[in-house]
Amino acid sequence: MSHAKLYTWIYVVLFVGATVQVGVEYAGLLEPGTYVAAVAAIIVLSLVKAVIVAAYYQHLRWEQRSLSYLMGMGLLAALALTIAASYSIT
């Protein structure tokens, strides 16, 4: 598959992914009972889309692995701050 074709497919996947996220809301899943699962699904979808953009559009997949680790370090720092700070609330 040529790169242009691959990029086009990725674009379609991202487009559909964003639509599905709103679909979760419109399907009424953000209600008690299914709320946690729906939020988890929406966040996971965002994560997957972000990884796809970074891997293909930003070419991380074809770069040295150290660049991926570098971004992972930034993400880890942000997550450490967010999770520990939120957990600290009495």
């Binding site: 709103v22 559009y57 930003q58 150290s66 570098l70 930034g74 700070a85 609330i89």
Partner: protein, 859 residues
Amino acid sequence: MPEPDDSNDDRDVQPDGGEPHADGGTVTDEDLPVDPPHEDEDDHGHGLPDMSSIKRWLVTTNHKDVGILYTVTAMFFLLFGGMLALLMRLQLWAPRAAGAGPLSAAAYNQAVSLHGLLMVFWFLSPFAFGFANYVVPLQIGAKDLAFPRLNAMSYWLYLASGILVGVSFFQSGAFPGGWTMYAPLNIPAYTPGVGATTSVLGLMLFTASVTIGGVNFITTMHRMRAEGLTMRRLPLFTWSILLTVWMMLFAFAALLAALIILSSDRILGTTYFAAQSAGGSLLWAHLFWFFGHPEVYIVFFPALGAMAEIFQTFTGRRIVGRKWFIGAMLLVAIQSFVVWMHHMFLTSINLPIKTLFMATTIGISLPFDLMVFALIYTMIKGRIRFTVPFLYAFGALFLFIIGGITGVFLGAVVLDYEFRGTYWVVAHFHYVMVGGVTALIGALYYWFPKMTGKMYDRFLGKLSFVLYFVGFNLLYFPMFVAWETPRRVFDYPEAFAPWHKLATIGAFVLGLSFLLTVYVIGKAVFVGEEAEDNPWAYSTTAEWAVPSPPPLENFPGLPSYGDGKLSFRPESAADGGEAAPDGGVAATEGATPAAHDDHEEEHVSHASIWPFVTGVAALFTFFGLSGIQNAQLIDGPWGMVHLAALVFGAVLGLGAFVAMGLEEFDAPTGPFGESWPFSSTSNTTTGMWVFLASDVVLFGAFIGSYVFIRVAFGWTAWEPIPHNSLPGLINTYLLLTSSFSVVLALVAAERNSTRGIVASMLVTLLLGIGFLVNKGIEWFELLHEGIWLSTNIRASTFFLTTGLHAAHVIVGLIIATYMIVRAWRGAYLDDEAPLEYFGLYWHFVDIVWLFLFPLFYII
């Protein structure tokens, strides 16, 4: 020639009886491999005026010049912060009511706050980075940093930020709420002065300067090391700076987030840190200390690295347990990000998290123990020469041990309940931080002969140390004794007055020692003896293998450690010594093709006025911004002055960036042998990714703030501000499509299609504009409904976070417009790298939106 060292006669003898060990190779036990020319002879011009010309210092981008600029400027801020300290100590001579001493109550609060801010930010780190700028490229075998213009820009932004803080004193007073700027004291309800805003903006500008510098140093130190100079063989000072800049990259990004939010609260009227906002004051403490604890090591590590170098040189002994010492520093750098809540034991955070952070805090003291013992054992194994640098470094170790031990008390929750807010804390962190200063003054005496080619009066240097050490302990030790004195206030129990009098006397003695140091080095600059290229026996690092001061491009050839010792190979373009543009998007085209095709020896550029102009522009822009409160200009003619400064600064800044992009400027590029772990990416690509990593933390801190506030508010009680997710979905489509069109621009460049590049970039531009228009309509409708960023905390998080993202979009669109014009003229066909760099940025902006959209529109 005067005797260069107290014991230079035995330089061929290793006092520990061992083989000479090299930190990245050495030339100390033999003659220099070549006799490189001194600066004046070697200066090929490069558009750089003579050092006696003022213009030289305005246009220089050379790392050694920038290092000197940092060092001198930082010493000015030392005097500035020191004067404030002396005023405070005079006030504290006796416990007295407000206004009864030399300072009014308001002036005392400003002096306390700005003393802390100036010393921590504008003196300590920049002082260390003066040496880092000067020495690190020499130690790693590079001609300059990877992005010399960005290096100069870091300096000018630093100076502009410091001037802003100075200006803030004249705008109805500088920030008076303490150097930690705790919420809610930091919002206009409690600190309403324009000057307080200027202080905050000054710190924000300083943070920008640090981030740029961090990206530059990380790229340089990983990508541009000489052949054979593997990470394991890096000199210890270089190691300490490398870890410092990594900590800076992530920690200062969190501070930048905190300061953007605070500036927004002060300028636009958001309510993040308002007393009634959920989690408001606690949020500031988390953001500040997530930065603030790594900052302790950011400040101390360069001092530690300098101590290690000085100990090695003046004991004639390689540091004991070198790899463990490096490992310990690495461990501390990582651990520094998981101890921040020990600064918050007296806040409302829960007990389990306090216990966890007490454990991590005790844990971080262990690697320091190892480092301290390594230094002590190095002295035991070696033979000490009590030179001026060693005296300071040894004094620093002694002071740091006291500072470290007294800090362990504060890491224990129950003891901290007692000590928090007292002079115990003040004494402890001064023993640590000013302990670090002690080592850095040692570093000044150590590298001064290299930086100036002059030797100072050693007797006066030693006298300065005696004054320093006596003054230091006379100043800070009584604070441990009178520890129950409340911190930050000028009133205290009468019983402590004798101790405070002693401290005040100590402060003046310490101040005198600094003045003596300034005199000693000032005199040496003008009438000092000529220093040898290597005045210290047993120095092991590469800066001592070149003349004092080194020539403009440092080395007489391409440095190599391939055979275990420093040697210089003939330089040619094929060796990787080729010059390349330093990351300006358009500079790739700017460099004349003829210059690159010709394989004769090339020289990097060393002069550009645009970093200086950028600094001036930033000064005006940020001064202008300080005149806005609650999204309105302050009343009266000053409002118009601020507006004019803002517009002038913004236009000048934009012009400077465009001019820098168009300027022909060649920087050294790598790899020169060792470039782990970024061996297959260019300097600019590496720099872009490093910058994006800091941006991950910036946006991460914004999103983290949102999550934190929402948890404090009650997660499910929180309603998204937009009533409908469709505008957000449309914007997601627009951004995704614009990312796709950037990818197509790159594909068009690979196919050599100018029309394809222009069309794709034009589509990107239009989609980006569409995104902003859609957002504008949405915001306008919300405003129409009476919802604005000051309405409530939900609205504040929505408008500010998505607004910061929109600002990133606007910056991207400005760059895109510039690139379309250049593409139209045929650029990017031979070299699509600038399109790739733009893509990295634009896709990142896209990725951020992929998270903001569900968080602010759906959930």
